[in-house]
């Protein structure tokens, strides 16, 4: 042992692991489409593939797309060899579901493979995954798998390591209660991030604590009057979007999403402008109902993205709707006391109702332009 090597190791002592680069991981996304059919996306680091397949033909340390593409069948072969799915001992053969593509992760470029798997036998409760990629050359490698069971909205994370290379993908769809819970959460989440729905509702509710007189706005005489007004608007909105959400989710009606999204933006503009120069006053609930029908189509497209579980369709629909209503109620509960207390002030009438409506109208007007003319970046 030379002094140099000894010095080297002593100087580092045991700091090794903490110096860390990102370790070698591959990312598997497996989604159950039906109990015996799976859709798979597998991201493998080009650097790892190069280590086992020598992709860098000219050995210059730079991988070109040509060098990768030429070897796509070898890469696919490697993947098939190191990912085996089976149900009740019978294989679920993989078929390529698209050409090899690339994606950038935080630590470099990855090859993206897409497969569909169809099991020869139907598994009663689980599909077995056996993962062996790179373990023979690098036992620190991990396969990070995100598994979405058929009918589930959330994924389960599995870590496939040399010591835990074979694991079951649980098939049983979540219990009815669990499905309901998941969709309620999704509904709440969607209204919370669905800024356009919130603004529409708020724009309609802003004047609910006021009464329009020939000379201008005056404060609503009692909380009861204001609350009834709020109740009318919220109920109309809820009933309307529940109708269209259900119809769209069940496939009875469908509208192009660009139209729906544009009209939703327009509805926010109209609701806000109506506060500045009242056209619809006593019958704001009618407006809530009419545009609520369109907002329902908007919710439906979110629900379609989530995927509806076969066999628990109604449950998911009810859950999602309940979630949306709960989200709405939370907004109303936050809004009403504040608005009611401030309703008699000039601040509320000018600063909140008028200025707020102008801001909302401008913002939603921009959305409308973006959506109607397809200017949105994504």
């Amino acid at each position: 042992m030379t002094a140099r090597v000894l010095a080297f190791l002593l100087s580092f002592w045991l700091l090794g692991p903490a110096l860390a680069h990102k370790p070698s991981d591959s990312y598997l996304t497996v989604r159950g489409e039906e109990p015996h059919k799976l859709a798979i996306r597998w991201d493998l680091a080009l650097r790892d593939l190069d280590y086992v397949l020598q992709l860098d033909r000219d050995g210059n340390g730079e991988l070109t797309w040509g060098e990768v593409r030429l070897r796509s069948s070898d890469i696919e072969g490697f993947a098939r060899q190191h990912l085996q799915l089976s149900a009740q001992g019978a294989p679920c053969p993989l078929t390529a579901a698209g050409p090899l593509m690339l994606d950038r992760h935080s630590d470099g470029t990855y090859a993206v493979l897409s497969f569909a798997a169809a099991c020869e036998k139907k598994a009663p409760d689980a599909i077995e995954v056996a993962y062996t990629a790179f373990f023979d050359v690098d036992p620190t490698h991990r396969g990070l798998l995100q598994w979405t069971a058929p009918g589930a909205t959330s994924a389960q994370a599995l870590v496939l390591a040399a010591g835990s290379a074979t694991q079951p993908l649980q098939l049983q769809a979540p219990s009815a209660l669990e499905t309901l819970r998941q969709y309620v959460v999704e509904g709440v989440w969607h209204i919370w991030i669905g800024f356009d729905h919130i603004l529409f509702l708020v724009a309609l509710l802003l004047p609910a604590v006021l009464v329009r007189q020939p000379g201008g706005w005056t404060a609503a005489p009692s909380l009861r009057v204001a609350a009834i007004e709020v109740l009318k608007v919220v109920t109309a909105f809820t009933v309307a979007h529940s109708i269209t959400l259900s119809l769209a989710a069940l496939g009875v009606v469908s509208l192009p999403s660009r139209l729906v999204e544009s009209v939703i933006a327009a509805s926010v503009v109209l609701a806000a402008l109506n506060n500045l120069r009242a056209t619809v006053d006593r019958r704001r609930w009618v407006m809530a109902f009419a545009f609520g029908l369109v907002h329902g189509f908007g919710f439906a497209s979110v629900l379609a993205d989530l995927g509806l579980p076969q066999g628990a369709l109604v449950l998911a629909l009810v859950g999602f709707n309940v979630g949306v209503e709960l989200g709405q109620l939370a907004i109303v509960a936050a809004f009403l006391p504040f608005a009611y207390l401030l309703r008699a002030t000039a601040f509320y009438r000018v600063g909140v109702l008028q200025a707020g409506s102008v801001v909302v109208a401008v913002l939603a007007g921009w959305w409308f332009v973006e959506r109607a003319f397809d200017l949105a970046p994504a």
């Binding site: 190791l9 110096l19 680069h21 990312y27 650097r47 730079e62 797309w65």
Partner: protein, 386 residues
């Protein structure tokens, strides 16, 4: 505003990436492999090709494994540890001391200290004159805070390597067990008397001396030793981290930014950059902190528990999340018991107002007789608030 759901989805689903793409041209460079810029790695790669032709050449196999492990240590890329492990795997029955040394090193990397000690003992049995297995055992015993065992290993090391090794090893143990001042004085004298020594050895000795001087609050001495270590010209992340901590402690964060420029890929140094960035209100600080957050989240998703000392410090000093810091620090202290591990446990326990959680670190401090004014101060606070 369509950005909202997009950002929310990003936050909620860290595994989601941008959509896959197909490069427009075959000539487009899609990845730069580390071999492109690393001659040491290219050498190993070519040896690996030779091994493919001569798979039953144990000497070549061991040479490759040792080089991979050295790469892992130098660059902190855990892949190389894996490559080293799989390269030596066929030699398990060979009875070669070098096999057991590499195996022990790989095991300690994964915090399997008992397994590592057994492998390193086996290496010494097979080659009693080898210094490295003894030095590694001493290092592991220090991390475990088993000072009597560490001292024994230092004694065994003395006749196997140049005298300054045994002296350095013993001084390091004595400095942790109530004899900081004499250990510092004798090692400083030995280093000065040795004259021109191997630069790597000099770097290590001066780093240790600088740490001892810091604990004695001899700031001038510490600065001198750090500078002497840096003057050796070798890149050593351990030295950079230790000096960065010294500069942070002394309220000189701007110098840390200069010292560690471009070192973001190392978690340990990225943490110091982020701390210095915060202290100087550098515009890059938020980005560094975000990178750390991503890396710790990645490690957690993977089930890695190798970075908890850094994770604890990050949670405490950058995220202001004392409870999380304490969870990391407690779990870390179950495995590693170096002074830095004790310090972060003490600080996290104090911040989380759970001084009882610091009990193991307090016990260690009492039993070892470890001297460090800063640590003593923390311990006093923890004792007082119990």
């Amino acid at each position: 505003m369509r950005l909202w759901p997009f950002l929310a989805a990003l936050a909620a689903c860290p595994l989601a990436h941008a959509a896959p793409y197909t490069p427009p041209s075959d000539a487009e460079v899609v990845e730069r492999l580390p071999a492109a810029t690393d001659p040491a790695l290219r050498t190993v790669e070519s040896m690996r090709r030779q091994l493919a032709a001569r798979p039953s050449d144990p000497a070549l196999r061991l040479e490759i494994a040792e080089r991979y492990f050295a790469l892992a240590m130098a660059q902190g890329d855990p892949r190389y540890v894996g490559y080293a492990a799989s390269t030596i795997a066929p030699l398990e029955r060979s009875g070669d001391a070098r096999y057991w040394l590499v195996r022990g090193q790989v095991q300690q990397y994964g915090h399997d200290f008992d397994g590592a000690l057994a492998s390193l003992r086996k290496a010494s049995e097979l080659d009693p004159r080898a210094a490295a297995p003894v030095a590694w055992r001493a290092a592991i015993r220090m991390v475990q805070a088993k000072y009597a065992e560490a001292a024994q290993e230092c004694e065994r090391l003395a006749p196997l390597a140049a005298p300054l090794w045994g002296q350095g090893c013993s001084a390091y143990v004595r400095a942790a067990t109530g004899q900081l001042r004499p250990a510092y004085a004798s090692l400083a004298q030995a280093v000065a008397a040795a004259g021109a020594i191997d630069p790597d050895l000099a770097l290590w000795q001066h780093t240790r001396l600088a740490e001892m001087a810091t604990r004695l609050q001899d700031w001038g001495g510490a600065e001198r030793h750090f500078r002497a270590a840096l003057a050796q010209g070798a890149t050593d992340q351990f030295l950079l981290a230790a000096y960065a901590d010294f500069l942070l402690q002394r309220g000189r964060p701007a110098e840390v930014l200069a010292l560690l420029a471009g070192w973001e890929r190392s978690d340990v140094l990225l943490l110091r950059l982020a701390l210095a960035g915060k202290a100087t209100a550098d515009p890059r600080a938020a980005g560094w902190n975000r990178q750390l957050r991503d890396r710790f989240a990645d490690a957690e998703r993977r089930g890695d528990r190798l970075h908890e000392q850094e994770a604890a410090r990050w949670a405490l000093e950058l995220e202001g999340d004392a409870a999380k810091a304490l969870a990391f620090a407690s779990s870390n202290y179950g495995k590693q018991k170096e002074p830095r591990d004790a310090e972060v446990l003490l600080r996290a326990a104090l911040a989380a107002r759970q001084p009882a959680a610091a009990q193991p670190a307090l016990a260690w401090l009492r039993e070892s007789g470890y001297e460090d004014a800063g640590l003593a101060q923390l311990a006093k606070q923890a004792e007082a608030s119990k």
